[in-house]
């Protein structure tokens, strides 16, 4: 009898408990050469990363050939630790779908699949998901969605698609891609082209406006959080270039004059990481502050439905990831854990 009472109590206690929600830790690798140094490998292990979204190649429209072609195909100098799952990730430019005739969609799907299989041969890692990244619009959604539907027919893996914030906001117009899951890119939220924008990478004030819409989104969402910095260069008031992986210390020279919190005026023409900046150019330095990153994680975790999900940082090769302590990044990952 005591046994039954115990069992009953156990059953009662389990049935009252909400199931634990798991966070799968991930990173994006976005450069075209996979070269994981020992240090990087160590960092990945310390973070407990379980998945790496590995950019295999881009697909772009070639005007001359009037075809969609692969670009920046991944070259592999050394490999990722075998125990980590790889998610082949393919970026497709929106103009590809603007230009491609419908009749070319299935051949493109087949070539894309072949290329993915060909690159995947280089890895021993488990592959069970393929991700497509495309900033589709109202005018291209039909072709992009058809591409995804056709791809599901030739590849049995789980298919995911990146989702940008505007696609969540205007879901009635932009539609929902026919995939198993979405990866919400919680960044690039400000208007980068506007000089007055403070930080186009991560601005929680802007981001919070989308939060109420997240739990209504018809797809289960994973989350990509930014870990990168860049310099936004304005010439005559017009955005002319983004220079990746710039650090604030790069502006501590007599060539620049700090004119606001994160704006610099070029006093004397100078090269910055391969770009020639002219006198009077205005540079906005944008980065992801630790406090903002934590706040983003908190805001998102509060507004998303309880669900197992992948949290991924974009991206593992930025200088910023090296500047942030493992504890901080762990804290961000753990913000999404519910007990």
């Amino acid at each position: 009898m005591r046994k039954y009472v115990l069992l009953y109590i156990l059953l009662i206690s389990f049935s009252c408990q909400k199931p634990k929600v798991k966070t799968i830790k991930a990173l994006y690798h976005w450069t075209s050469n996979l070269e994981v140094s020992d240090e990087k490998s160590h960092q990945i292990q310390n973070l407990g990363v379980q998945k790496i979204y590995l950019r295999y190649f881009d697909i772009d429209w070639n005007e001359e050939a009037q075809k969609a072609i692969p670009k920046g195909i991944l070259s592999i100098t050394n490999n990722i630790i075998d125990s980590i799952e790889i998610i082949p990730t393919i970026f497709i430019t929106n103009r590809t779908f603007v230009n491609i005739p419908k009749a070319q969609l299935f051949p493109l799907v087949k070539k894309t699949n072949q290329k993915i299989l060909e690159i995947s041969k280089s890895f021993q890692n488990h592959i069970s998901e393929i991700q497509f990244d495309c900033d589709w619009t109202v005018s291209t959604k039909e072709k992009y969605f058809e591409f995804l539907s056709l791809f599901k027919k030739v590849n049995a893996n789980f298919i995911s698609s990146t989702i940008r914030l505007h696609q969540v906001k205007f879901l009635e117009k932009t539609g929902v891609p026919p995939v198993n899951r979405g990866m919400l890119m919680y960044y690039n939220m400000g208007e980068v082209k506007k000089m007055s924008t403070e930080n186009s990478i991560l601005d929680n004030e802007i981001g919070s406006k989308y939060l109420s819409k997240l739990n209504k989104y018809p797809l289960s969402l994973d989350i990509a959080l930014p870990l990168y910095s860049w310099a936004v260069v304005f010439r005559d008031g017009k955005l002319i270039r983004l220079i990746n992986d710039v650090l604030e210390s790069d502006f501590v020279t007599t060539k620049y004059l700090k004119i606001s919190k994160n704006h610099y005026k070029v006093l004397k023409s100078t090269f910055l990481y391969g770009s020639y900046l002219y006198e009077d150019d205005i540079v906005r330095f944008e980065t992801v502050m630790k406090t903002d990153l934590l706040e983003a994680a908190n805001l998102l975790s509060k507004n998303l439905p309880r669900d197992d999900r992948t949290i991924s940082f974009y991206h593992m090769d930025s200088k910023l990831i090296n500047q942030y302590e493992t504890e901080l990044l762990q804290k961000v990952y753990h913000s999404f854990n519910f007990n």
Binding site: N62, E63, E64, A65, K67, I69, P70, K111, Q114, K115, E118, T137, V138, S139, K169, F170, E172, K173, K193, S212, K213, N215, K216, R235, D236, G237, K238, I240, R241, S269, T270, F271, L272, Y273, G274, Y276, Y278, D280
Partner: protein
């Protein structure tokens, strides 16, 4: 649909003749804007272009590997042709060098060695093959065979999805074979070609150090005349140097290739990589003379976004006869015109041409141009003079610019420059338009119809009509101004009365000008009825029903919109889709019914509640929240379920925004009247419930509301918006309707529960 559509079709006034339908502007749906400005520079303005002219002037068009491959092949064929004193035609050379299979090449060799053996038909037809056989050019044939063997490892297969078919082992063997043949070869020209093949193989095999060694070893042994092959070899040398980590030295070589050899210009530009000022200074030190140093500034200026006055100054100082100077100048002027032209014009929504043009820079550029003119060290002084005049125009000194242009017209001899001058003069004329009357409108129509400069330059369309848009606006012709930049359909999301009235006024004129006819037409058809319907809709949305009826009555019945909707049905919940009614109503029918109900309500005095209730329902149902929303609107968006100033919500692609009829004032007024006059508690309860819905809608789209149409949560309704819920839960809680609402409406149940 892109704004390009506007750009291309906007104001396609009178394509053939004014008799033909005139199209001003059209749109269909999603619009994306771009930010390019106006340009009046002729393509091919420079008649004797330097090798970089096409690169700089159409850089974006050219940045394509395939085009470079074609240029490269053409140059290769041309060089073979020159070396063989034009004994073979280019088509045959191209066929033999690029298309002939290895087996055929070996047959050619056999036939060349043994004069008794005839060439196979395909080779017999080829003049280059015949020449090689007749003259027993065995070294050349051996070289072509060797090049064919190298091809699979070094030449792009044409299929972007294939991996390069490189076999390093085979490449090394081929390299060794080539090295041996190089030593035995007598012809310096063929030796040079072997050197190229060998160095290329080493480069693509990733043997970068060997590339450097081979270059140092082989090149001193070659004594050929100057050849483009030297640039190809240098390209591979620079590539290997860069791969070995010396991007500075590599960039110096790439700059020299860019400067002198168009066939490898794109790859040279892409490979040029200077990361910081220190590297730039080191790179300059590598230059052996002023011309080489100038080449570094030329490649830096070739960046599409450069602000190249700095580079122009340096190149001019180092090498005033530099052939690239004028191309860089023209490219710079192109950037300046996109910044300075039309800054006071009416901008299309979404465009941001009004940037912050740097007037200081323009002045400095003109000063530089004038110095060049005065010093007379450059070639083609006329183009500098013309540029000076155009810069005066861009500075806004139209009178001075006109004087300059007229002066130059007398001295310039080049036909192309004269053509350019006429284009500048027309742009100046448009820019100087200050007021518009019938005469000017006719003159504009003539320009659009037959001016040859206007037809030559695509920018004229936008330039002219953007200018007109601002002039019409200044003169109070909002409608004409709007039509200069938008299709009539663009009025539908927000039918702005002032625009519609201005366009309708055109129909009142005794005689329309040709331009006016175009403003009120689409596809050649006059659009008066559409404009009247738009006006009627706008009047309805501001509840001026009598006036709306008068306007809508002017539209022939067969052209009136038909609605199959019962506006007098009450619903507990609102739905996006509704059951279609069997009856058909026009807007006039609906107005008449509503006016009739109002009258009956007033006449019935204290018995008027049922009429007022129905009227309240009609007002509710034709609002943004009701199923008959399209009676007073053309486009409703679910994403506008939030606060919008004056109920005009920003809408991408809609120049006037999207006006949503969110006002609940009339519906509330009549529900309250019905509630107060109701003889039955049930009707009063219904009216209270509908009024409560109005209050919830008012709150959900108010400025401070945090309500989200996408949220699953029931929003917390502030106290001041909860009045009718309270009333229903207290005064009418014993009605059957109340019980029904409690059962069916979750959120009402929630609000009531909070009140308990």
């Amino acid at each position: 649909m892109k704004l390009n559509f506007y750009k291309k079709s906007i104001i396609l006034l009178i394509l053939i003749d004014f008799i033909a339908p005139i199209r001003i502007a059209q749109s269909c749906g999603w619009v994306e804007y771009d930010e390019t400005g106006y340009t009046f520079l002729l393509n091919g303005l420079i008649e004797t272009p330097s090798p970089i002219a096409p690169f700089i002037m159409k850089y974006l068009d050219l940045i394509d590997d395939e085009k470079e491959v074609k240029t490269h092949q053409k140059a290769n064929v041309s060089e073979w042709e020159t070396r063989f004193c034009k004994k073979a035609n280019t088509k045959d050379i191209h066929q033999l060098v690029f298309k002939m299979p290895l087996a055929q090449m070996e047959l050619l060799k056999t036939a060349a060695v043994n004069s008794k053996i005839k060439l196979p038909t395909v080779l017999q037809r080829n003049s280059f093959a015949r020449h090689l056989k007749t003259n027993k050019c065995l070294e050349v044939i051996d070289y072509l065979i060797y090049a064919k063997k190298c091809e699979p490892h070094v030449v792009f297969s044409g299929n972007y999805w294939d991996r390069p078919n490189r076999n390093i082992m085979e490449m090394v063997l081929l390299l060794e074979e080539g090295r041996k043949i190089f030593d035995k070869t007598k012809s310096d020209y063929v030796k040079l070609r072997y050197a190229y093949q060998i160095i290329r193989l080493a480069h693509y095999a990733g043997k970068y150090q060997q590339v450097l060694m081979l270059y140092d070893e082989l090149m001193p042994k070659v004594h050929a005349d100057p050849s483009i092959i030297n640039f190809w070899i240098k390209g591979h040398l620079a590539g290997a140097i860069k791969s070995l980590g010396d991007n500075v030295k590599a960039s110096y070589i790439f700059a020299q290739i860019f400067d002198k050899y168009p066939g490898k210009r794109i790859s040279a530009f892409r490979s040029f990589e200077i990361n910081n000022d220190k590297e730039w200074e080191q790179c300059k030190l590598l230059a052996k003379n002023n011309q080489e140093k100038a080449a570094l500034f030329v490649i830096r200026a070739a960046d599409d976004e450069s602000k190249a006055l700095e580079e122009l100054n340096e190149i001019y100082k180092l090498d005033p006869k530099n052939v690239h100077l004028k191309e860089i100048l023209i490219n710079e002027v192109r950037k300046l015109e996109s910044l300075f032209l039309g800054t006071d014009f009416k901008q299309k929504p979404g465009l941001s041409r009004k940037l912050s043009p740097d007037a200081k820079y323009l002045v400095k550029m003109q000063k530089f141009v004038q110095t060049v003119i005065n010093e007379k060290k450059v070639q083609d002084l006329d183009i500098w003079k013309l540029t000076d005049g155009y810069l005066t125009f861009l500075r806004g000194d139209f009178y001075e610019a006109e004087k300059d242009f007229k002066k130059y017209k007398k001295t310039i001899k080049s036909q192309k420059l004269l053509e350019q001058l006429d284009i500048f003069l027309l742009a100046l004329k448009i820019n100087m338009l200050n007021e518009i009357d019938n005469e000017v409108e006719d003159e504009i129509a003539d320009i659009v119809k037959s001016n040859k400069e206007y037809k030559k330059i695509p920018s004229f369309r936008d330039f002219l009509f953007d200018r007109l848009a601002s002039l019409y606006e200044k003169e109070g012709n909002e409608g004409k101004s709007f039509r200069c930049q938008n299709p009539i359909d663009a009025l539908k999301p927000n039918p702005k009365r002032i625009i519609i009235e201005d366009l309708l006024d055109i129909f009142e004129k005794k005689e329309m000008t040709k331009l006016e006819r175009a403003f009120v037409s689409e596809d050649g058809k006059l659009m008066k009825n559409l404009l009247l319907q738009l006006k009627g809709v706008d009047l309805m949305s501001s509840f001026q029903f009598e006036a709306a009826k008068m306007v809508l009555n002017q539209v022939p019945r067969k052209e009136r919109s038909i609605f199959k909707v019962n506006l007098f049905r009450d619903r507990i919940k609102d739905y996006v889709n509704y059951t279609v009614d069997t009856n058909e109503y026009t807007r006039v029918d609906i107005i008449e019914k509503m006016l009739d109900l109002d009258l009956k309500g007033k006449v019935a005095l204290e018995d008027g509640a049922p009429y007022f209730y129905k009227l309240g329902l009609a007002y509710y149902n034709i609002s943004y929240y009701g199923h008959g929303w399209n009676v007073m609107d053309y486009f409703r968006s679910g994403s506008n379920w939030s606060y919008c100033e004056n109920n005009v919500c920003s809408s991408y692609g809609d120049p006037l925004g999207n006006k949503e009829n969110k006002s609940m004032s009339k519906a509330l007024e009549f529900f309250e009247k019905a509630r107060l006059l109701a003889k039955s508690q049930e009707l009063a309860a219904k009216a209270s419930f509908m009024a409560a819905k109005c209050r919830l809608n008012e709150w959900s789209c108010s400025k401070d509301s945090e309500f989200s149409a996408y949220s699953r949560d029931i929003p917390t309704l502030p106290e001041e918006y909860n009045d009718y819920n309270k009333l229903l839960a207290t005064k009418y809680k014993n009605t059957k309707f109340y019980q029904k609402v409690i059962r069916e409406c979750l959120y009402f149940e929630h609000y009531v529960a909070k009140l308990r």
